[in-house]
Amino acid sequence: MRYIEPHGHMVSRTTDDYEAMLTAGCAAVCEPAFWAGYDRSGVQGFYDYFCQLTDYEPKRAAKFGLPHFTWLCINPKESEDTALAADVLGIVPEFLERPNVLGIGEIGLNKNTRNEMKVLEQHIDLAMRHGQMILVHTPHLEDKLKGTRLIVDLLKADARVQPGRVIIDHVEEHTIQHVLDAGFWAGITLYPESKTTPPRAIDMFEVYGGQSVWLNSACDWGRSDPLAVPKTALEMRRRGHSDATIDALIYGNPIRFLSQNPRFHLR
């Protein structure tokens, strides 16, 4: 088996996780910038984090022979503070030329507030001015439906945005159709409690089609499983899917989306 982990917060994971992922067939990992579990005290905290994502973490992954890529932004959980967001948006451009940066992400909404919307709009503008791809985080639980609709509307309102260069992540049964119908890629996140389980992810793949879909573990410092993607592949086998179908979903699809940025390459 071979697969891409297109969404993993590796700075929160151990080297044992890297080893396990390699052993399971991981060929590359992509790490969107996200919330640390606490609010950073200022822009300097983000500067250090961006250095970690573009310098230290790819080196750590390289020790295991794993290509590491990243996406940069201020996450929606900290976007309620628009002054901080403006400062962080100010330093993102100086990192965009680093060799493992794939685009702007994971941007999006958390509680669907006006400030979050404003900062999301600024991120989209930043991405468009710099010709960047976009990775979007959709809100949790009861906030996901409304947030996904607001995000899709906002993206569609900007004529510069090419939907095929945007992935809207953490879709579930009530949001996937809306995302795919609008021409965006959809990410399905496999979590033990929230988001989706492997059987549900495979249901969505079967019902809604898998042309513009990727699977990810979104492993971070919370309850999550860095091997969720290969475990779902095993479940797909039990469901009778061919090796070619599985390979296309967990390896071919992420490569097809990510390769739109020429910086994305496997070893």
Partner: protein, 88 residues
Amino acid sequence: MTRQQILDLYFMDARSKLIDLAAFLDRVDRAEGEADFRLAAFRAALQELHGGEPQRAKAVLLSLSDPTTEPIAAAPGKGAIGAWHQTH
């Protein structure tokens, strides 16, 4: 896959989750004090299982979702709790 194969693959797992649900509701009943809005939201979502279309997962998720469309003025906190509560 055939219905038979799906049952072979998932029946025991679904059975276990069904009993867990029943035990959860029993546990809530045995406990004391007032329940907050989540219990009513949970019971409402349960009704969606009776639907005749293969869209039950979607219907349950919709039932637990915030149906409003306008951004809110300020975040009440960072987290989500799993069910929507109309506050105004």
